[in-house]
């Protein structure tokens, strides 16, 4: 009789912890795809921005090339770390394109440029927000994977810890043009 109840208890615990890990993992994955949605929005805005800036500052080739390259690198990046680095690099190169506006008053005054800048600033905010939410989901998952007794079930069913975005203070600053 004892063995029977023990078995019931073990099966119950397994179901509970397994399901908990599954839901935590899926929450994290969903949060990650939310980050991708925002990143895609940024990819789509960049060609427009480059075209607009080119119209006013055509000989700043280096800057355009860097942004375009950073964009394509970010789009093909495969694993988490690679992608994060590429995205950070893209953010940096976008800053340099916005910095151009300081030298080109006409560009700065352009309505199209202002609109794009506005959109990109907003997208940048949204990327940060989505990453923060992803981090909070992953934190929950990682805590579960590491702490007792969930760690036993995590090992049995092979649940891994997931990686966090490091939101550097530099990156937190939104690309802005100083007037």
């Amino acid at each position: 009789m004892m063995i029977f109840w023990l078995l019931v208890f073990l099966i119950g615990a397994t179901i509970y912890f397994y399901n908990r890990l599954v839901s935590l993992k899926n929450q994290a994955l969903e949060a990650l795809s939310d980050v991708d949605v925002q990143l895609k929005r940024r990819y789509n805005l960049i060609p427009n921005l480059v075209e607009t800036v080119r119209a006013y500052a055509s000989h700043e080739k280096e800057v355009f090339e860097r942004v375009t390259e950073a964009r394509s690198r970010a789009m093909v990046a495969q694993n988490f770390k690679e992608k994060e680095e590429a995205e950070n690099f893209l953010s940096q190169s976008l800053k340099s394109i916005f910095a151009l506006a300081e030298d080109y008053p006409q560009l700065r005054a352009s309505e199209n440029f202002q609109k794009l800048q506005d959109e990109l600033t907003d997208t940048e905010d949204k990327i940060q927000a989505a990453r923060r939410f992803y981090n909070s989901c992953v934190r929950d998952l990682n805590i579960a994977v590491e702490s007792f007794p969930t760690n036993i079930f995590a090992q049995i069913f092979n649940f891994q810890k997931m990686e966090l975005f490091s939101i550097s203070s530099e990156e937190r600053e939104v690309p802005k043009v100083r007037f």
């Binding site: 949060a31 939310d34 925002q38 907003d122 905010d125 949204k126 940060q128 927000a129 989505a130 923060r132 939410f133 909070s136 989901c137 934190r139 929950d140 805590i143």
Partner: protein, 296 residues
């Protein structure tokens, strides 16, 4: 954050409890009235009424409060800044972007309502948008989003709708007894016990309803403040927002006590022992004190 999901479950359980309490309460009220008047139809009416209102309060928990304050929906074009603020905070909190409404009130205040994430609204008073700066508004919106995420809004909005209906019902019965009273006395002597019960119920009804309501919402203001700061990472925004809101003396045009518990700060200004007894919010000073302790 794991506790958020537990919170959701507790809130759902409490909502069910609240609705069933309301059902029992109205049916009991109906039974008392049926006894007092010697008319069984009142009981049937009460049962129907209770079921109908419970359903309404759940299903239209977003629309009724918005209608009661006369708020209008805010689109991205009207105020892109506010719209984006809500959008970005909702992404950060991992909830769907709620609909945003603006109520034509000069008092700076705000509330959230709705039965779930998909059907939730944030209502900002015009005064809030006019008087607070962006960081402060961000704090307020984050507070409301936390309410939505914790499902506080479901239980609070259900309570609001139920309480308003109990108040309406008891008002109605009270009036009925005033008009009917003299005629009945001249015709024949009523059963005095029934009459006493009837008056107790009529006077107690709004009181009990109010008690149910405030029992639910006090602690979670602290919780929502905490989650809001976790979201914005900037406690000062919410602190100065709360200061500005609490120092403001502009009264609401549309004073509806049933709605009071929804707001981020109690919108009804007069304070005495009685209003404290029924207050749905902890004192602002206490909340600010808690927020000052937050550090990262």
């Amino acid at each position: 954050m794991a506790s958020v999901y537990e919170n959701i479950r507790t809130n759902q359980r409490k909502t069910i409890f609240l609705i069933s309490t309301f059902l029992c309460f109205v049916v009991l009220l109906g039974w008392f009235l049926a006894q007092a008047f010697g008319n069984d139809q009142i009981l049937y009416f009460a049962i129907f009424f209770a079921l109908f209102q419970s359903f309404l309060s759940y299903w239209y928990s977003d629309k009724i409060p918005v209608f009661l304050v006369g708020a209008k929906e805010l689109s991205k074009k009207d105020n892109p800044k506010i719209y984006r603020l809500v959008e970005n905070l909702a992404i950060g909190a991992g909830v769907q972007t709620p609909k945003i409404f603006v109520a034509p009130e000069r008092q700076p205040n705000a509330f959230a309502a709705g039965r779930d994430e998909k059907h939730s609204v944030i209502v900002l008073n015009q005064g809030l948008i006019d008087l607070l700066d962006e960081k402060e508004i961000e704090g307020v919106i984050a507070h409301e989003l936390s309410h939505i995420k914790n499902r506080d809004v479901l239980i609070a909005s259900v309570a609001v709708v139920l309480v308003s209906f109990v108040a309406i019902l008891s008002n109605f019965v009270l009036r009925l007894s005033f008009f009917g009273g003299t005629r009945r006395d001249s015709r024949e002597k009523e059963n005095p016990l029934g009459l006493i019960l009837f008056f107790i119920v009529v006077i107690l009804a709004p009181l009990i309803a109010q008690l149910i309501q405030f029992a639910i919402s006090r602690k979670r203001e602290f919780l929502a403040d905490g989650s809001a700061v976790l979201l914005t990472r900037y406690p000062q925004g919410l602190i100065s927002a709360l200061e500005k809101i609490s120092q403001n003396r502009i009264p609401l045009k549309n004073q509806n006590p049933a709605l009071a518990s929804l707001y981020i700060c109690n919108p009804l200004k007069e304070r005495n022992w009685f209003s404290n007894l029924f207050s749905t919010h902890p004192p602002i000073e206490k909340r600010i004190e808690e927020l000052r302790k937050v550090s990262f």
